[in-house]
Symmetry: C2
Subunit: 337 residues, 2 copies
Amino acid sequence: MFENRRFLLIRRPVGTPVPADFALESSRAASPTAGKILVRNHVASLDPAQRGWMDDAPSYMPAIPLGAPVRATTVGVVAASAHPDYREGDWVVGLGALEDYSLITPNSFTRKVDVGGTASPSLYLSAFGAVGMTAYFGLIDAANPSAGETLLVSGAAGAVGSIVGQIGKIIGCRVIGIAGGADKCSRLTRDYGFDVAIDYKGKDSEVLATEIGAALPDGADILFENVGGTVFDAELMNIAPGARIVLCGLISEYNAARKVGARNLWQVLVRRATLKGFLVADYADRFSEGAQQMAEWISQGRLRIDEDEQDGLENAYAAFMRLFSGANTGKLVLRIA
Amino acid sequence: MFENRRFLLIRRPVGTPVPADFALESSRAASPTAGKILVRNHVASLDPAQRGWMDDAPSYMPAIPLGAPVRATTVGVVAASAHPDYREGDWVVGLGALEDYSLITPNSFTRKVDVGGTASPSLYLSAFGAVGMTAYFGLIDAANPSAGETLLVSGAAGAVGSIVGQIGKIIGCRVIGIAGGADKCSRLTRDYGFDVAIDYKGKDSEVLATEIGAALPDGADILFENVGGTVFDAELMNIAPGARIVLCGLISEYNAARKVGARNLWQVLVRRATLKGFLVADYADRFSEGAQQMAEWISQGRLRIDEDEQDGLENAYAAFMRLFSGANTGKLVLRIA
């Protein structure tokens, strides 16, 4: 069978992952046994959630076993099939790993996709993938925004945040985004149509809270949270009574050996806010509805999807770390083939 | 008019309040002008919420002005009335202050009450007051428990927590309480019927989380949170998928100059939990429904209400601090007359 390079987790990271937590090894891809397919991965998704899967802690998915390749959503082509619904050459998206070939037992995460024309493989990792579906269902379903409401988004220049903000504008919200650095902030207002961009870099929670307050004198009706820590603390000081908070991610905390925590949670109490933990996997049976709406907005020119494509399994570690350094400028994907 | 001793806030506390933040002064009670009543306070409620009102920070109520007496719910007798609905001698509960006489403009917080027989004045501060109504609506309405569910309560030996646990048992929940010290823990199982009591004293968050996990292998369906900080961190590691968290108080954080924060908030995400900020004031129009149910349970011997009565305005500071030292053994009230 085929040579299969695999990016393995060999040690559980403590705090920020280091290169020695991983190893790139080569072996032979196994042939699929009955009910399985072998997928030649073309592009893989790099997401903050993967950092959580590396820890051995209670979660919605089992931890990645030590010695196994780093779990990832991938888009690829069926190289060999022992499953009646899949044929060699089919394009599929599924839960594979950072490796040349993934042996997959098709399940609810697996589906055949149309690639070609304007539909690049990576679009199934961004607009039509977990990122796009997180933004769509996290905002539309979990927060249920109305025109005229104010929407505050953290990690606003990130893959999810940039889409959340744009959908907020499509719905008619006033949208305030928080991002790190002048470049990202100018992308928010220039590329994604945010009403206000606020740079959190170099500001403590109190200073940032004051700045958010100036842009949001009546507080945020909806807070879409991707970041956590001091940014979340500052936002919590600026929520409107009855605010809905969608807790989508806490990227600033994932690598922290000592987490900052949410120190202004008392504002959730005094503002009678509701905070909901959101996992896109719960919406798997509605992905086609979401993807259809995203495709329509893209074709109408109302939604811009940026991707940050990094190249090669040998660069997997450096590529993954772009999520935490804030270097990525759009949905981060790793090209494998 | 009458001599009126008043327990004034003269400086905003930083962290734990100190005696110099307050002053006991004496003046003459003013006569009520049109629409007002003068109430001779008999008992006053001492609650963690008062600590929040001492800070000049965004909240559901204005901060207590410096130089004003510490705001408190009180039960007393109308000493003079310039309001058509109130007569001298009427017993009333209302939002007054830690002072002999409070000048009150009757509003939605004010109502006439029946005192006598088994209905002591202080019962309107405990079972029929904010404490009882917080426990009742916080559990019944905000968490909506069903028989067979597991309920985890922090601050379980406190005024609210002890009632929450008992209502949970009446509904048919399995109830686990967290409290500080062996005495409080034995009260939980002996006096209040909790299934399991866990002592948090001297344990870090990880150790406490393990102990909770042993009592709750499938996680808590409902978490009724009164404490925050490391206790909340430990609880968050033990919530069931889809858990409902009622955020009722964060007493461990109120005096903290440097708050611990909720460092395990990521569990709200991975468990798709919902966290709701709860304020009893939102249920003011349903208090009679709640009080009626509480009175019925008390008369049936199914609900035990403990009070910790401290005596005298001159002891207001020491009495208030019992809330934070954990010394109080039931609803803390201050006898004024």
